[in-house]
Symmetry: C2
Subunit: 209 residues, 2 copies
């Protein structure tokens, strides 16, 4: 059916497992590509340029903004983060469904630029479970957990603005559900106008015979 890929925006509370879900899907299916963000923050140990992020200087990043090479960008904690347009467009043209992990504000910007983008919000089965996962890592201080919960509270305000919610109770089940959902979106009538038109013209030809 439709050949062009779908831009899939994935948001969700910190700790909900959205990164793991996308990694699983990219590994299991060959229709997905993961958008790699550009940032001005310093690489952490083990991070590779072009894999976790494209690392840039502030000057380079501001040049990208000026040349409108970013799909969206934002500044968090003194560092720029943004989505290079070129890679996303290239993957979509190749028919790849491109994952974009992004927060509410960025997601809304994407919706304006790409009205046909699919906006997913990954939910925990309950807030208790979210808290358990955040605290359960055992690596975070109470302050960090509290900050993430505050952030979750903010993010939670905008969930209705997303198209779909998926509940990450069991990773495999949720990944499969996400996959089915994204596959289904390829069947949208508006994504298949060419095919519809082709069949319609063919039917008309039979009628004039």
């Amino acid at each position: 059916m439709s050949k062009k890929g779908i831009l899939v925006v994935v948001s969700g509370f910190s700790g909900v497992g959205k990164g793991t879900l996308m990694k699983m899907l990219v590994e299991q299916h060959d229709n997905y590509a993961l958008s790699v963000s550009a940032t001005t923050r310093a690489p952490r140990e083990g991070e590779e340029n072009g894999r976790e992020y494209y690392f840039h200087t502030v000057e380079e990043f501001q040049d990208m903004i000026r040349r409108q090479e970013l799909l969206e960008y934002a500044c968090y904690c003194g560092n720029y983060y943004g989505t290079p347009l070129c890679y996303v467009e290239e993957m979509l043209e190749q028919g790849k469904d491109v994952f974009l992990e992004i927060e509410l504000q960025g997601a809304m910007k994407i919706r304006e630029m790409y009205p046909e983008a699919l906006l997913l919000f990954v939910m925990p089965p309950s807030a208790q479970e979210l808290y358990r996962r955040l605290a359960g890592r055992g690596t975070e201080s109470p302050e960090v957990i509290a900050a993430r919960l505050r952030r979750a509270g903010e993010e939670a305000e905008g969930i209705e603005n997303y198209d779909y919610v998926v509940i990450n109770d069991q990773l495999e089940v949720c990944a499969e559900e996400m996959h089915r959902l994204i596959m289904s979106q390829h069947l949208l009538a508006e994504r298949n106008l060419e095919f519809i038109d082709k069949v319609r013209k063919e039917v008309r030809q039979f009628l004039t015979k």
Copy 2:
């Protein structure tokens, strides 16, 4: 997630296999119910009241119209056909996804009354294949085939008004695709406002602790 069933309107060219698809899905999965239409046409051999149709007199049917007991109705070839509201509502409340096989005009009426209904159009892989299926039955006269093709030509005009198109190339594959698509629709954010609100409130409670 969402408890209430989805009203699934299924349209498609005559001979495309939409009836078979729905029957398969109702047999394979317990979340589906098939809406049974009311009609004033005479029962054909083997047809049973309440299975293929609810058979009514013209007077009874007109009473149903007056009492607004029909979701939609239309008159074809001198006979009334309509969808009893009560059965559909009952099934939806029970959480069943209710199939409604209906033509373009009826589908548009349903969309007005149930904006949350899911409108599917079943397509043949090509018009050639549609013609082959219509003619291939071998039981129809050239006039009937021509009439159906004309009807297909009319129906084809409105395909963009549907939400999704599914292509019936192989029955099992198409049925599975339809099933996944319908399941995915239960994840629509707007169908899960209660759950979203519940998690949001819980997150807020953590924040005030």
